[in-house]
Amino acid sequence: MSKQTIIELRGIAKHYMMGSEGFYALDGIDLDIYLNDYMAVVGSSGSGKSTLMNLLGCLDLPTAGEYKLKGTDVATLDETSLAGIRNREIGFIFQNFNLLPRATALQNVMQPLIYRGIALVERKQRAQDALAMVGLQDRMTHVPNQLSGGQRQRVAIARALVTEPAILLADEPTGNLDSSTTIEIMALFDQLHRDGQTLIVVTHEQEIAERCHRVITLKDGHLMSDQVNNVSVKQSSSEVSAHV
């Protein structure tokens, strides 16, 4: 099976100046991410996981190294093009959901489609479909503080998916959720993976990492290991229907 590369990282570093001292949050990361990868990023706190995700999501730029997304060197892009990449290629899911607080679930999911110039009617339709996919068709008009944590994260997932991004980046997506909600969310991710989505998930939880097909470990900004999981993924379609 030939694997199609989506992301190539070569010698990626992120250097921060803290006062007079410099500090490498990431140092010499070489990494390839392939189509339909289901990859976990693990490592102790402060090891650089979020820093890596932010670079992958084009929210931040590396201080050194080369990042190619679908063959394009990100360093050559201007602000507007980067915004375009964030909009079309990346779906970002945050630990703290990052929903727009005054907007309803539907409006939140519609938001990225605005930046793509999609007209209201189609926007609404696509957002409704995305919300239905995460099982929230009856919560469309709720604002975030009228939703549970799990529901909020599912709105965020719908928002990330509505643009049909090339990769889904999730930085500790279940970090603020209880264990049963975590299982729901992970079941959703498994489903997305089966549907062909490329996913990268930062996690502290062993169980979650075990569900992924590939696990990379960071330590002090270095890539320590890159393993393929042999553990066969538990069939989770039953869980999806049970919990959603």
Binding site: N54, G57, L59, D60, E79, T80, A83, G84, R86, N87, R88, F92, F94, N98, L99, L100, P101, R102, A103, Q111, P112, I114, Y115, R116, G117, A119, R159, T163
Partner: protein, 411 residues
């Protein structure tokens, strides 16, 4: 282009959303604009209504009419000297100045010796003693009855033309023509009622009684000659300057003024009065414009201040929007539109309040009804939008230039 239109549409939608989500705050934010626009509209509407009314009145007066009045220069006034135009002056002008007609002497009385009584009711009204030519000069027509004529004046008949307000003030019932009213204790027969003219500056223009000039002089007694106003009409408008010079020379000689002395009288044409009036309106508008400009500036700074606070407050939201793919331009446009929208809303509220206030002022003071000219509406909206643009650009740029990752991390 259609892309920009789409972005403006979306920006407007989002601006409306965020403005109405913070309704009360938005209102307070735009208060400066509201007050600025409201005051300009109130003043403009009153001044415009007033000036339309004045112009109309002057039009009726005829532009070839000259008024001559006594004028005491400041120096003399301090010495207690009062200038005066006399009946002699009137006769001089009437018989010696060529090219004029309807030369009319007018003497006015008001205050405590100007009391009119009728069956126990009394009223302090302006008493105007004038000649029969007054009618032609001022194009006034009696609503009922007749104006007095030459023979009324010559034979000092005790006849009176009443301003319409007197009727209600004295509670005259039935046909007033032929009834008698007492002026300073003397009986006068009512021969006519003048046309209604309404109020000006809250001053009732219909509260007067017209008496023949000679009768009034007799009424005033011979002790001291009254100061009169002499009005006249110029037959040939092109002769205006010559006529004025002629009158001037005549009066100076009559008053025995030495060469260096100032005139103790003033010669004014209706046109001149209109010009003066226009100049007053103009400079008032200018001064008001300045004040309003400053208040709008202050309002604009208020908008900028709140917008800056709002950008800081919404830093995370901006971060989220950027993470979802909003460009700098998207964010810039969003906040600019919000500022302009806010200002336009303030302008609209100000317009409504200002017009309401203007109408209220007109009603309470008896000024002519307020009118808001289109230019004032366009100007206030244009100004509001401009203020929004100018004072919105800094907060909008601040929002647009936020770094996505910093904005997302903002607590």
């Amino acid at each position: 282009m259609s892309n920009l239109k789409f972005k403006v549409m979306e920006g407007t939608r989002s601006a409306a959303h965020s403005i109405f989500a913070h309704g009360f705050r938005s209102f307070l934010t735009t208060l400066g604009i509201i007050i600025g626009v409201a005051s300009v509209i109130a003043v403009v509407s009153v001044v415009q209504g007033f000036s339309a009314n004045i112009t109309q009145q002057f039009d009726g007066m005829g532009t070839n009419v000259i008024n001559v009045e006594s004028y005491t220069p400041r120096k003399e006034r301090l010495q207690g000297v009062r200038a005066k135009l006399t009946y002699d002056d009137y006769l001089e002008i009437k018989y010696r100045v060529p090219g004029v007609s309807n030369v009319t002497p007018t003497v006015r009385m008001w205050g405590s010796n100007a009391v009119i009584t009728y069956r126990g009711q009394s009223s302090s009204s302006m008493i105007v003693g004038t000649a029969s030519t007054y009618q032609k000069l001022n194009t006034v027509y009696p609503e009922r009855g007749r104006f007095f004529n030459l023979s009324d004046d010559k034979s000092r008949r005790r006849v009176a033309v009443l301003g319409p307000s007197i009727m209600s003030k004295l509670d005259i019932k039935g046909d007033p023509i032929g009834q008698h009213v007492a002026v300073s204790g003397e009986w006068f027969k009512v021969i006519g009622i003048a046309e209604k003219r309404g109020k000006l500056f809250g001053f009732d223009q219909d509260d007067f009684i017209l008496l023949p000039f000679s009768t009034t002089r007799a009424l005033l007694g011979g002790a001291e000659e009254p100061d009169i106003t002499i009005s006249l009409q110029i037959d040939e408008p092109s002769q205006l300057e010559q006529v004025k010079q002629h009158i001037k020379n005549l009066l100076r000689r009559n008053h025995k003024l030495s060469k260096g002395a100032d005139d103790d009288f003033e010669i004014a044409t209706a046109d001149q009065m209109l010009d003066t009036f226009d100049a007053i309106i103009g400079s008032t508008t200018l001064v008001l414009g300045g004040i309003v400009g400053i208040s709008l500036l202050v309002g604009g700074i208020g908008i900028m201040n709140i917008m800056l606070v709002s950008v800081t407050e919404r830093t995370r939201e901006i971060g989220i929007q950027k993470a979802l793919g909003a460009t700098r331009f998207d964010i810039l446009l969003q906040f600019l539109i919000e500022a302009v929208f806010l200002c336009l809303l303030g302008g609209l509220i100000g317009l409504i309040l200002g017009f309401g206030a203007g109408s209220l002022i007109s009603n309470l003071t008896g000024l002519p009804s307020a009118t808001v000219p289109v230019w004032a509406i366009v100007l206030s909206f244009g100004f509001s939008a401009g203020i929004g643009l100018i004072f919105g650009i800094i907060p909008a740029a601040k929002a647009a230039n936020l770094d996505p990752i910093d904005a997302l991390r903002y607590e």
